[in-house]
């Protein structure tokens, strides 16, 4: 599969009143054609800056951003505007023209492209049908709900038949139910049109639900990148662990107590491990926290347990879990 994006050693430094702030540090990654690529990180991590380098709303300080092999930084203004017709974008704040009707808003992207009036209108109507808002064509955005506004924005973005859709926190202003509907729509469009989608979000659930691959951005660095299933079942970096595993809210019950995290990678989620442990070894463990999530239909889980006081018993318990194919890691304070 062809690479849509090829980022090499991208740095972004902001200078403000003599002070320097590095928003992106040596980010290299590729985005493949037809995939839904998630970029996740805490707010302020640099993910919004990163997505804006993909259509050159932000200039990179050093490094290159290649779009189908073309270095975006090398493009003259006119050529850049041409390329931007293939890179659509939707935003957290929808960014519709409030003084224009829904239909006029959708037409706008085609108008910039220079599509003749009649063709433009027909295409805009067709796009509104795809997002399910054909009956709202002559309304003004103020009369629409947040989810409907984002659908209009999606119709506007897709009307020009782009190669990529960039979504900058596109569902962050919406409630969970509407978020689900918008994500379903994006997934449908991805499958039907083979459209590459890049999603910026701070919500794990968004990535879990529709992304194929994910990059985790932490303090301007690319902390981890890989298939969503791999990253979420077995996170390697500290930033990824912090996102995937909620922080442990409890201390051990006594000073010498020891906590471990056991992770189920989906294949063993139907085995009653704790019950088996008690039955086979007679040793008891204290469960401090546990959760499961479904990634692509497979259940992943993690559990934080407190081990018995005795060193020998601890080893027995750890070996029991390891033999069962679970990953076991010690939980330190503030982990």
């Amino acid at each position: 599969m062809e690479n849509v994006y090829d980022l090499k050693n991208v740095y972004k430094v902001y200078k403000n009143d003599g002070k320097e702030f590095t928003a992106l540090k040596d980010v290299s990654l590729t985005i493949k054609e037809g995939e839904i690529f998630g970029i996740i990180g805490m707010s302020g991590a640099g993910k919004s800056t990163l997505v804006r380098t993909l259509n050159r709303l932000e200039e990179v300080t050093s490094g290159t951003v290649e779009f189908y092999g073309k270095d975006l930084a090398a493009l003259k203004p006119k050529a850049l505007r041409e390329v931007r017709h293939s890179i659509s974008m939707i935003f957290q704040g929808f960014n519709l023209i409030n003084q224009r009707t829904v239909l006029q808003n959708v037409e706008q992207s085609l108008k910039i492209l220079g599509t003749p009036r009649a063709e433009r209108k027909a295409k805009a109507k067709q796009m509104l049908e795809i997002v399910g808002l054909q009956d709202k064509a002559n309304q003004y955005p103020a009369r629409l709900s947040g989810g409907q506004k984002q659908r209009v924005a999606i119709a506007r973005a897709l009307a020009v038949d782009p190669k990529v859709l960039l979504c900058d926190e596109a569902t962050s202003a919406l409630d969970p139910k509407i978020t689900g509907e918008i994500l379903d729509l994006l997934k449908k469009i991805n499958e039907e049109r083979k459209l590459t989608i890049v999603i910026i979000t701070h919500e794990m659930s968004v990535v879990e639900k529709i992304c194929d691959r994910v990059a985790i951005i932490d303090d301007g660095n690319l902390a981890e990148i890989g298939d969503v299933k791999e990253v979420f079942s077995n996170p390697q970096s500290k930033a990824a662990k912090k996102l995937v595993f909620p922080s442990n809210p409890f201390d051990p019950s006594d000073e010498n107590g020891k906590l471990v995290r056991i992770v189920f990678d989906g294949t063993q989620s139907n085995v009653p491990f704790i019950a088996n442990l008690v039955e086979k070894t007679g040793l008891k463990v204290n469960i401090l926290s546990a959760n499961t999530r479904s990634v692509g239909g497979i259940g992943y889980g993690q559990m934080i347990i407190e081990l018995p006081a005795n060193e020998k018993d601890r080893k027995t318990v750890i070996d029991f879990f390891k033999d069962g194919g679970l990953s076991v890691s010690e939980v330190k304070e503030n982990d």
Binding site: R84, N95, N98, Q99, S109, I112, L113
Partner: protein
């Protein structure tokens, strides 16, 4: 009140209307692009250009800080050059226009500043040129605010037009000055003042009505 004065007042209303209308029109023809330029060349905007913005801002600020009465006198030679005379209604339109341009420019700039930056970002991401973005995204989005500012500007020009009476500009201001002030005819003075108030209120109401009708939010 004699018929003579009544006719004079009616003529004055007409002259005031003519001066206000044309001065407002011309001041927008020049002030609107100037306001757009002030907005778009300022820091972080589409056509950011610090030197241009600084020079334009300086000119506008100087023009705005000149009292209008001084401007009226200062501009007499320029007016004579432009329209061949320095008294009368037509002549008064020249200083009125020039006095209103910087006010219009600043008003337009402030209306455009209210437009959400996200809309501009969306336009840019769609491949719109800065010029296209201004015409098709920023100005439409600022229209209600521009109309409201327009009403304030026209009312200001109307107020200034009364001052033009001092240098023989005609209109209600001239009548108030001649009959009310120099001849102590209080009834004429109050009639003209009342008429001016009514005209300002009408303009303001029309402006607000148009702005509301256009506001889709």
């Amino acid at each position: 009140m004699t018929d003579y004065i009544r006719d004079a007042i009616l003529t004055g209303v007409w002259e005031t209307f003519v001066m206000t209308f044309f001065a407002s029109l011309f001041s927008y023809i020049i002030g609107m692009p100037l306001g757009v330029l002030l907005y778009s060349t300022s820091r972080g905007r589409l056509l950011e250009n610090r030197p241009v913005n600084f020079v334009l801002g300086l000119i506008v600020n100087i023009a705005r800080s000149l009292p209008f009465l001084i401007l009226l006198v200062l501009l007499i030679p320029f007016t004579r050059l432009l329209v061949g005379q320095s008294i009368g209604t037509t002549a008064a339109i020249v200083p009125l226009t020039i006095g209103a341009i910087p006010i219009v420019a600043r008003m337009v700039e402030s209306s455009l500043n209210e437009v959400q930056p996200g809309i501009i970002e969306a336009a840019t991401s769609m491949g719109a040129s800065p010029f296209y973005t201004i015409i098709h995204f920023i100005i439409p989005e600022a229209t209600p605010s521009l109309l409201q500012g327009g009403a304030i500007n026209v009312a200001t020009v109307l107020g200034y037009s009364a001052m033009a009476g001092v240098i023989g500009g005609g209109g209600l201001g001239a009548i108030a000055l001649q009959y009310g002030y120099y001849r102590y005819q209080k009834d004429v003075l109050w009639t003209t003042v009342t008429l001016l108030i009514i005209m300002v209120m009408l303009i303001q109401e029309i402006g607000i009505w148009m702005s509301k009708k256009n506001r889709k939010t």
